[in-house]
Symmetry: C2
Subunit: 363 residues, 2 copies
């Protein structure tokens, strides 16, 4: 293994308020840089950087993609790569991706291919990006109808998290990010869970000390799993807690309104994960009134996240079967009995999955 090639998690993870204002100093040194962002972030955040003394952001070669999942395509990735080539970014250059999960997935992917791999830095600006998407080295775009069907493993040289970026998020996006926070806290244990549950919108939006602590803890929890399983062949699967149910719900929502996209279809990724957590808790408790399910439900309610979803169990099972086809064997699910009490169950019978789906059935 060549030392120039990082295969662990990011070398530097920094979580600090107003970090974006110090960005030129916080970035790892590089002889040349290229900035990737989306239209929203460019307007709300990056524009304000141009006049900073000491660093001329306006002179940095950059590419701005439209905001939203619709930019996570093969064609957009090609456009990013053409812009990097036109900018003459060398092999020792650095791509800086500032934005949500779409921008960091796209940026990491482009960085892994340009000149067969250049360094990149993730500056996630959404909650889901800050606690989850920017870390782990998985890059991807959607191709052929599926999500994340093509991609690479390419860890960022640094992940720079400024929670004050969250001030500009709309409430629904913020809440969807909280579902990932809750998931990661459940993987971690009772302390992390209590800390996550103690957050409220005001605290998160202002990047309070408590918020900084929760984000750091989420990144540490994910980092340990990624470090143990860099290419997602085993242990990292715990991160799928809530996601197997969640992906099926998302796919069904998208199938119902394919052109509208995830948001308009009525189910953001984080919202689907929240529902998936309820199912995973029901499966973990083995009965309807487990204590975790109740506190989880209360948390989702606090954040305005959905607790129910009208879906046919058969349709969910069909979607889970499609997902499962990518691996051999029966249904593999991550279940949770209590914070920190998480496990992978193999060959889960269909009856149990149907029973778990009762947790999200509309009353």
């Amino acid at each position: 293994m060549n030392d120039d090639r990082r295969e662990g998690v990011a070398e530097t993870i920094t979580v600090r308020r107003r970090l974006v204002d110090e960005l030129p100093d916080a970035l790892p040194p590089a002889p040349a840089r290229f900035l990737l962002t989306d239209e929203n972030v460019a307007r709300l955040l990056v524009r304000g950087w141009h006049d900073r003394p000491g660093y001329r952001w306006s002179e940095l070669p950059q590419h701005v993609v439209p905001a939203g999942e619709a930019s996570k395509t093969w064609e957009t990735l090609g456009a990013v790569l053409r812009a990097m080539d036109a900018a003459g970014l060398d092999r020792d250059g650095q791509l800086v991706a500032v934005g949500g999960g779409v921008v960091t997935d796209l940026g990491g992917f482009a960085a892994s291919l340009h000149r067969r791999g250049v360094d990149w830095v993730a500056v996630p600006t959404t909650l889901v990006g800050q606690v989850d998407a920017a870390l782990g080295g998985k890059t991807a775009v959607d191709l052929g109808g599926g999500k994340n069907t093509v991609g690479t493993f390419h860890h960022p040289a640094a992940v720079l998290v400024d929670p004050t970026c969250l001030a500009t998020l709309d409430r629904r996006e913020l809440a969807a990010g909280m579902a990932e926070v809750l998931k990661t806290a459940l993987l971690d244990g009772p302390d992390a869970w209590d800390a996550a549950c103690a957050l409220d919108e005001e605290a998160v939006r202002t990047g309070s000390d408590a918020t900084v602590a929760v984000i750091r803890r989420c990144l540490a929890t994910k980092g340990v799993l990624v470090e143990r399983d860099p290419f997602d062949r085993g242990e990292r699967r715990l991160l799928n807690l809530g996601h197997t149910f969640g992906h099926a719900l998302e796919a069904l929502a998208l199938a119902a309104a394919p052109r509208a996209g995830a948001a308009a279809s009525g189910l953001l990724h984080g919202e689907a994960v929240g529902l998936g957590l309820l199912c995973a808790a029901r499966l973990g408790a083995g009965r309807a009134d487990g204590p975790l399910e109740e506190v989880l439900r209360a948390q989702l309610r606090t954040w305005g996240l959905p607790e129910t979803r009208a879906v046919e169990a058969d349709a969910v099972l069909a979607e889970m079967g499609r997902d499962k086809k990518r691996r051999a064997g029966g249904h593999v699910l991550v279940v949770v009995a209590a914070p920190g009490e998480v496990g992978v169950r193999r060959d889960v019978p269909e009856e149990e999955i149907r029973a778990a789906l009762e947790a999200i059935r509309p009353r």
Copy 2:
């Protein structure tokens, strides 16, 4: 480092006559396969496989790209990936790339991205593919006007070489491949050089024992360098012998006839490498009548490869400067004084480069 990820050279390298006839048995086991090839190879080679007893090639999901460098594009790569997705190839599936350097570059690239990486097998059918392109893990397509501007490192699980495939190559392609054979033999040493010089067209086309031995030796020489420098940061640069001059000559030829492509522009990659070897030998000898240059010139003549090229030294230097911009510092060139006496020279002065170009000046 996860064991599932290969970072050395290919696990299996097999060179054997009639290997393609035994291909089903020679391929590493896989639950599912996907075949990538080009129109020429499909017509000349793959079509004959369909009726083989014991293996139904015709039932294998496959994608056929047009023959030639024009297929090494971002768009074609996207089409290959869409076909792999449509075929439902799983993460444990295997891509089999049968063809020249374009097909193996494209196939390795697609395999590295599909589901974030599946195994692939290279079955090179051209001489340049068999001795060079299929081994080393470098995958690429052309984007933004440059060659191999985007790509990945993704070693094939196996490289399967059948020299009898060379029977169908046209003479010019065969000769261009011989330039890479000569280059690799110069890196290796006197024995390898003598063995390479002893080959003739009849021997190569029939895949004689001597040809098999030379191909094996070329692959071993490249394999050692790749193994020592998997991500092309140092030692592997020796493989650039003849290529720094060669790339500049190729780029100038393409610039003169951009739409026509490499072949029509009057200079194949291997032909440019042959000319580059003459320059590298002149540079290595430090004088015009070095003994290596003379035997090299005789070899090029034997194979009908060009010994001269009408180019302006200024234009070549400008192209080499553009290439150089990708790294820091002055001109870095690989020079050769005799078979096995090869070295990397840094900050080569322009006067010496001009003097070396005299080696290919038309009389």
